[in-house]
Amino acid sequence: MVTTTAGKTARSAEPALIRRRLLDARMMTAVTAYVFAIYSYIQPSGYSSIYKTTAERLAFANSFGNSKGLRLLYGLPYDVATVPGYAAWRVGGVLAIGAAIYGLLVGVRLTRGEEDSGRLELVLAAPVGRASVGVATLAALGTGAVVLWVAELAGLAAGGVSVGGAAYLALATATVVPVCAAVGALAGQLAPSRGLALQLGGGTVAVLFLLRALADTVGGLGWLRWLTPLGWAELLRPFAGAQPAVLLVPIAATALLLALAGRIAAGRDIGAGLLRERDRSEPRLRLLGSPFGLALRNQRGALIAWTGTLAAFSYLLGTISKSVSPADVTKSVQREIAKLGTGSITTPTGYLSFLFSLLGVFVCVFVCTQIGAARQEEASQRLETVLAAPAGRRRWLAGRIALALLAAGALALACGVPAWAGARTGGVHLGLGRSLEAGANMLPITALFLGIAALAYAAAPRWSGPISYGVLALSYLWELVGALTGAPRWLLDVTPFAHIGLVPNEPFRVIAALIMVAIAVVAGAVALELFRRRDLVGE
């Protein structure tokens, strides 16, 4: 049995392996930790400066904390009338989702990602056992969870939450990391490629989120919370009668998933997964006529997955929009809520408007992934073969941009129709036209971020990923939390998200949209020209 070779691994090998794994994950961990720290600092400090008196906080708690729509996003509030209780709700809920995504990405990257690249074969060709590789991966995942725990703890403590309470709340968030990393590691054993592992793991995490969302919003389904790590983080009840015994659940789940992954890893062929892909197929000649066609062919799976997920989300969000009600909310509290960057979300349509803007962020992420795929084509040097044929460079990049834009349009529609259907099911009157308009309203800002991503890709190909995702993340975070910092209006207006009209609640802002599109067109044109003039750049 292969596992027995672990004892023969050279003594110096494991530290070297662990070091390598930590370095592999360092960028993702550092960025996530940074976001965690900032976010968990701004929320409690902003809350305590805006809602100074207990009366204000109670008013807020009644109006805001009981909204089902917000529960879906942020999770179940236990006590939002105190700073720590508010932090537990606003910080814990959102960061648990962040922790789940981080865990999944790192879990897949350190297992199937390494294997897919062929590097694992090189490592295992040295006198190193498979078990040692597993240990190194575990060490890196554990370190990542601890780093995120420290980041959140530090942010909360700096924001005025007691250290003990902050440590427990941060721990609740951090428990999500190992569970989802184990999901990623297991997906990495099943799938024979990194892309498929991410799809499997991503699907699983989406279901885990859905379970938590249902548990928090639909009466009588609270027990579903026990089925998902995002629910366990809530059941730990930070600042609301802590239940530390619940910790055993994520520990047991992680151990179980990892044991299963380890068992599969010890016995299978390196480079293959438990699921087999066919090695041969009949020729399918559709979409082979141009680089655009091939890109569409290769991205089809991703496009279907994105469309399906966003459509399901929009439908679900639509159905629960009815539970949002402006009753008992004073004008002043509504104004304060607006300051939280979420617009006037105390009415069903206001809530839907906010959700459309959130879906818009996802569509922006999607176009960034499309430019990322174009970059991957270049980094893997396949683009050299394409461009050595009589195929122009500008035309190639223009094709990729056009594909991203068309797909974004399809996604926008895929949000509008099911959101309308969901709202109708839930009993909220929203016209289909209005709903589609709300979907289309996302397109100018999507075009803007597509332009920025294309420009980053043309100007600094190796940094295009960090730049495009970074600008997008900072812009949206600033929109969410900027007002809490008391920054002046002009500084708040820096983010393009401040300039979208929240359709259907607000009118479509034509001028802002035109400006965004104009910037996008200029950025795209400059990108095409820069790309024509630069060297192709490999890994």
Partner: protein
């Protein structure tokens, strides 16, 4: 009009000079062997010829078309085989050929010839690229380039990963291409292949073309080895210019002759020579001699850097 012509073509990556004022001319119909150790700048040259990288200075023309200014125009007349077979893992070999063919327009390739090549190289066209070995991926690239019957073939180590049988098939195919009048730039490490196929050879070293000519011309520059055995003890010969003498046995001498051989023959004439064996330098010896030399200026090789 030459198939390839460069004027002081140079490329710098950061502070590394990967290609230093290359003056290269490859006439139409010629098979040109492009030799050089790893990192000498062979791949850099090809990327500049393809307009994938921009020259730091100088320029290159293919059939009179500027490689950087009008890459698409130039590419209509050439086909390329990359040093590494990076292809799309989810496509089958056949789908890959079809995609690369369609990039050239409706009548870009000779489909009958493709089928012949698939047969000749024993390619399993229904197999996914993901499941192909490196050598088999290389075959996909080769067939994709050869089926175009392009006027110019830019081949960057095209036989890496091929087995000896496929190597034979490759040589056969290039000989056919030559007979049809196609021009070939063959960058290679396999000296027997270059020796067998190429009309002219250029040797690149740390970004500079240090030697160029037909094989005969290069041999002339190299050292000829003459071994002589004598009836009695080996004689003491007077020092001869360009001749290096070593004793290999009491009655035998070996001469390494640079340049004209006549003075040596004259010097040996007065002695009782039993056997005289003369051997021309192989391409390998010429090549190794150039590798072993100290560079006559400071230049850093840059091919590795260009793999970024």
């Amino acid at each position: 009009m030459a198939a390839i012509q460069t004027w002081e073509l140079s490329k710098r990556y950061g502070d590394t000079l990967a290609l230093d004022r290359l003056e290269l001319t490859v006439e139409q119909g010629e098979v040109y062997g492009y030799l050089g150790p790893n990192g000498a700048g062979k791949t850099t040259t090809i990327r500049l010829l393809l307009g994938l990288h921009r020259p730091t200075s100088g320029r290159a023309e293919l059939f009179g078309i500027d490689a950087w200014a009008d890459p698409v125009g130039a590419h209509r007349r050439l086909a390329y085989v990359a040093g590494e077979p990076y292809l799309w893992p989810s496509l089958t070999a056949g789908e890959t050929l079809e995609f690369l063919a369609r990039l050239r327009g409706p009548d870009g390739v000779d489909r009958a010839y493709r089928d012949e090549l698939i047969h000749r190289f024993e390619l399993e066209a229904d197999k996914k690229v993901r499941a192909l070995s490196k050598g088999n991926r290389q075959k996909v690239q080769l067939i994709a380039a050869l089926e175009t019957r392009a006027d110019l073939l830019l081949l960057d180590e095209p036989t890496s990963g091929l087995d000896p049988l496929m190597e034979v098939a490759f040589r056969h195919t290039i000989t056919e291409a030559k007979e049809r009048g196609q021009t070939v730039l063959l960058s290679s490490h396999i000296l027997s292949e270059v020796e067998a196929l190429c009309d002219r050879i250029g040797i690149l070293r740390t970004g500079r073309l240090i030697e160029q000519g037909t094989l005969t011309e290069l041999r002339h520059l190299g050292t000829q080895t003459v071994e002589a055995t004598f009836a009695g003890a080996a004689p003491a010969l007077p020092p001869l210019p360009g001749v290096h003498v070593t004793g290999t046995a009491p009655n035998a001498l070996r001469f390494e002759v640079q340049g004209e051989i006549e003075p040596l023959i004259e010097a040996l004439a007065g002695h009782q020579v039993l056997t005289l064996h003369s051997r021309e330098p192989s391409l390998e010896e010429i090549f190794l001699r150039h590798y072993g030399q100290e560079p006559d200026g400071h230049h850093d090789g840059g091919e590795d850097r260009s793999q970024r």
